[in-house]
């Protein structure tokens, strides 16, 4: 084992590997920071380059893109209020208000450090417990997945903002949007009205960019001139306090560890991914907080939870891949392809047959997260400089990036029409004070729920299986508790409000 460890370390710490990894890290961060450009896209671009590299070298470079990509989304989320990747939706909730409140440097530093610790915690779990965790993950059938998604849907309650009713409506709109296009099981068209544009469905990323980016950018245009910051999105006095922030992150150990564990768990389930982990970690942090009303106004806990949660899926996602050779996402599939091209078969025997490679990947994960940290800390000033650019330049530039990214996703022109239409819908909803996150949550979770419900009933026509399989039953019970908890807190809030109004009446 020590031999393999040293052999792996020897390869990762080669000078050229480190240089390539540094480039990969920067590329991942930049790609993720631009709304519309995805990490998958950045990794697929590196794939042909890795054909010419040693297997471990190639995978190390890809891992640095991957880790960088889970952090980069934070930058646009905090500075522009636009999630740079699907995994940073919840990051906008608190990092953006914090940045707007005059602490953009703190918001970024908090996010970067939380991402760093999240990645490290997930890598440690990956190293220590990958095989048993992967075995549990693989046993989960469609019943457990469906119940998990039902549970995840209950977090809508945390995302509703000012009105429970409007939040629920937004969630239902999201679920509805997700049904357009080919049905996930048979590929039969649904609600497409024979239109070429709707034929491929509404891709999740197009909805995300349309709903968040376009509405946010239009909002920026709308309040131009009224803003006190004289055209710049963020005030210019910036303090980083890098080390102070690191201590601040470590002062929230419970939140950090809980969020990272959620990230690892969700990451280890093939098909779920960082976007769910990001929202779920945020939700759990809000619910267990003593001051839930601070969430959404720029509380450090919100930033820590969302960023530790999404970054921890990096290590979690590698669990089924390294332990069993089962890809959990497109990124994992590309990583596996990069190994297989070199004749390395990826499967349950990878750790035994190619131990140096497996250990090398663990080391590469740690090195990649350190690189991400260094790159981010050093370049933060540069990113913040971006916000000095007057709005009339930054808004169109970001808009163009969104459009290019949306096109590059599937290389379909029709996606751009969809983007425009969804952007208008998003802007309309936002103007009417509808929260947008529940809509996106519906679009993410709807298809997963449908696929697994249908799969479960195809495997066994009996509905009671959902309650007799233990993990599924526990998840459904958790969902029920979550709903009860939410109703209670809504009632409590209402009572409080009424009390306040009564007092006012008394005056």
């Amino acid at each position: 084992m020590l031999d393999a460890f040293l052999a792996g370390a020897h390869q990762v710490f080669a000078f050229d590997t480190l240089i390539y990894m540094l480039i990969g890290s920067v590329a991942g961060i930049v790609a993720a920071a631009i709304p519309g450009f995805t990490v998958t896209m950045a990794i697929i671009l590196t794939l042909p380059l890795t054909f010419a590299m040693d297997p471990l070298q190639g995978v190390s470079v890809m891992l640095s893109v991957y880790v960088g990509g889970y952090t980069g989304g934070l930058i646009s989320a905090a500075l522009l209020g636009i999630p740079g990747t699907p995994s940073s939706v919840a990051t906008t909730f608190d990092a953006y208000p914090m940045a707007r409140g005059g602490e953009p440097g703190r918001a970024l530093s908090l996010g970067v450090w939380s991402s760093f610790f999240g990645t490290i915690i997930s890598t440690i779990i990956l190293i220590v417990a990958a095989p048993p965790l992967a075995l549990i993950a693989v046993k989960l059938g469609p019943w457990e997945y469906f119940s998990l998604i039902v549970f995840a849907l209950t977090i809508v309650a945390s995302l509703v903002g000012n009105s429970l009713m409007r939040g629920l409506i937004a969630g239902v709109i999201g679920l509805g949007l997700a049904t357009v296009g080919p049905d996930p099981m048979m590929g039969r068209p649904r609600l497409t009205f024979d239109s070429d544009i709707l034929m491929p469905g509404l891709p999740f990323l197009i909805v995300l960019i349309g709903i968040f980016a376009i509405s946010q950018l239009m909002g920026e245009v709308e309040d131009d001139g009224k803003s006190e910051t004289k055209g710049a999105l963020i005030p210019d006095v910036i303090e980083f306090k890098t080390w102070a922030v690191m201590r601040e992150v470590l002062m929230h150990p419970v939140n950090l560890i809980r969020s990272s564990l959620i990230g690892v768990f969700i990451g280890a389930l093939p098909g779920a991914g960082g976007s769910i982990a990001n929202l779920l970690a945020y939700d759990q942090a809000k619910r267990s907080s003593k001051t839930p009303e601070e969430f959404g106004k720029g509380t450090p806990d919100g930033v820590i939870a969302s960023e530790a949660g999404n970054s921890a899926t990096a290590g979690g996602g590698l669990i089924p891949m390294i332990a069993l050779g089962i890809p959990g996402s497109a990124v994992d599939a590309i990583l596996m392809a990069a190994l297989m091209v070199h004749g390395i078969s990826v499967g349950p025997r990878l750790i035994m047959d190619n131990a140096d490679l497996a250990y090398g990947m663990f080391i590469a994960m740690i090195v990649a997260s350190l690189m991400m940290l260094v790159v981010c800390v050093l370049s933060m000033r540069l990113f913040l400089r971006v916000t000095d650019i007057p709005k009339q330049f930054i808004v169109p530039t970001v808009m163009i990036c969104c459009v290019i990214g949306a096109f590059a996703l599937n290389n379909r022109v029709t996606d751009l029409y969809l983007l425009g239409a969804i952007g208008l819908v998003g802007y309309g909803l936002k103007s009417l004070d509808y929260p947008l996150a529940p809509l996106v949550l519906g679009v993410i979770l709807g298809p997963i729920a449908e696929t697994n419900l249908r799969r479960a009933l195809m495997s066994d026509g009996d509905w009671t299986v959902f309650f007799t399989r233990p993990i599924s039953a526990v998840l459904l019970a958790a969902a029920l508790l979550s709903v009860i908890f939410s109703i209670r807190s809504v009632l409590k809030m209402r009572k409080k409000n009424r009390a306040v109004t009564d007092e006012q009446d008394g005056d």
Partner: protein, 314 residues
């Protein structure tokens, strides 16, 4: 008579215009539309072919992923591209099935098939369960309990066709559970959520070696070099050809000399040792069937699909 003149005229035209074009082709980068997402079998294998083609022709061959509706979005877009040889694409069995089940109007003969380049042998893979551990036991169990054997397939996809071929040949009945992609099916098989599935060496080989899964039979004319102990369907009494074959196509109406030039380039690519090794490494077999042989293959496949399509539409 008229036809002969037409052919002669055509040949003359080709003789005048052709050589200049064919010798020069390609003079600019060739766009390779892969109608599937990144990271899958088609994507990985076609990237290797694209890289070989770029080396061979000296022109860049950028791969453009255009996923959606089981490959049909990318192919629909490809069909509209100029037929000049500078946009190429890839098809496999899935297109014929999509056509048969009415998801798309396009079929293999909507394009100019140029060369079949890879063929991935498919194995009938069994989970570890109490009821059967060999092919014969599985058939016997399925005959005794019709519909009790849960088969994981991509509904109305290639694995569904393969399973339907097995049902048809051995007169048994599975109940189908829909999964997307080989990775998902193998995971469900390992987790015991389904009983049988179609797998391949790259995704399931190590599980078999580990004793977690069983390769019951292989759908090739002869046993494969990777799994010499796994019997063919032919040995089991029914000659079934279960492979996922991927070939390069051009839009219909491309000049024949351009097609011939591309065919010649691809033939050289498929002899390139580096490309061959890498394709084998990702679990497929490098092969080469030129235009005529490829068309004949697709024609025969089309008959099988049409015969079994009723089973797939449900």
């Amino acid at each position: 008579m008229f036809r002969k003149i037409a052919v002669a005229a055509g040949l003359m035209a080709a003789a005048i215009a052709g050589p200049a074009q064919a010798q020069d082709y390609p003079t600019k980068p060739i766009e390779f539309i892969v109608p599937w997402g990144p990271g899958g079998g088609s994507d990985t294998q076609m990237r290797l072919v694209a890289q070989g083609l770029a080396e061979e022709t000296g022109q860049a061959v950028p791969v453009i992923n255009m996923p959606g509706v089981g490959g049909n979005v990318g192919l629909a877009e490809f069909a509209k591209r100029p037929a000049d040889g500078y946009t190429i694409s890839q098809i496999h069995e899935g297109l014929l099935i999509s056509n048969g089940t009415g998801i798309t109007d396009l079929n293999w003969d909507s394009f100019m098939p140029i060369a079949l380049v890879t063929s991935s042998p498919q194995y009938l893979t069994l989970s570890k369960n109490d009821n059967f551990s060999t092919f014969e036991e599985m058939v016997a169990y399925a005959k005794e309990h019709p519909g009790a054997v849960r088969a994981g397939v991509t509904l109305a996809g290639v694995p569904h066709l393969h399973m339907a071929m097995i049902e048809d040949a051995f007169d048994i009945q599975f109940s189908y559970v829909g999964y997307e992609g080989t990775g998902q099916r193998i995971r469900a098989l390992v987790g015991g959520n389904i009983d049988v599935a179609i797998g391949d060496v790259s995704s399931a080989g190590q599980f078999v070696e580990n004793g977690d899964l069983i390769f019951a039979a292989v759908g090739m004319p002869e046993r494969t070099a990777e799994e010499p102990d796994v019997r063919t369907f032919k040995e089991l009494g029914q000659d079934l050809d279960l492979a996922v074959t991927r070939g390069v196509v051009l839009p219909k109406g491309t000049p024949q000399d351009v097609a011939d030039a591309l065919e010649a380039h691809l033939e050289k690519v498929m002899q390139n040792e580096d490309v061959r090794t890498k394709i084998k490494n990702v679990g497929s077999e490098p092969v080469f069937l030129g235009q005529d042989a490829y068309k004949a293959y697709l024609g025969k496949l089309s008959e099988t699909v049409n015969r079994l399509v009723g089973k797939l539409a449900g």
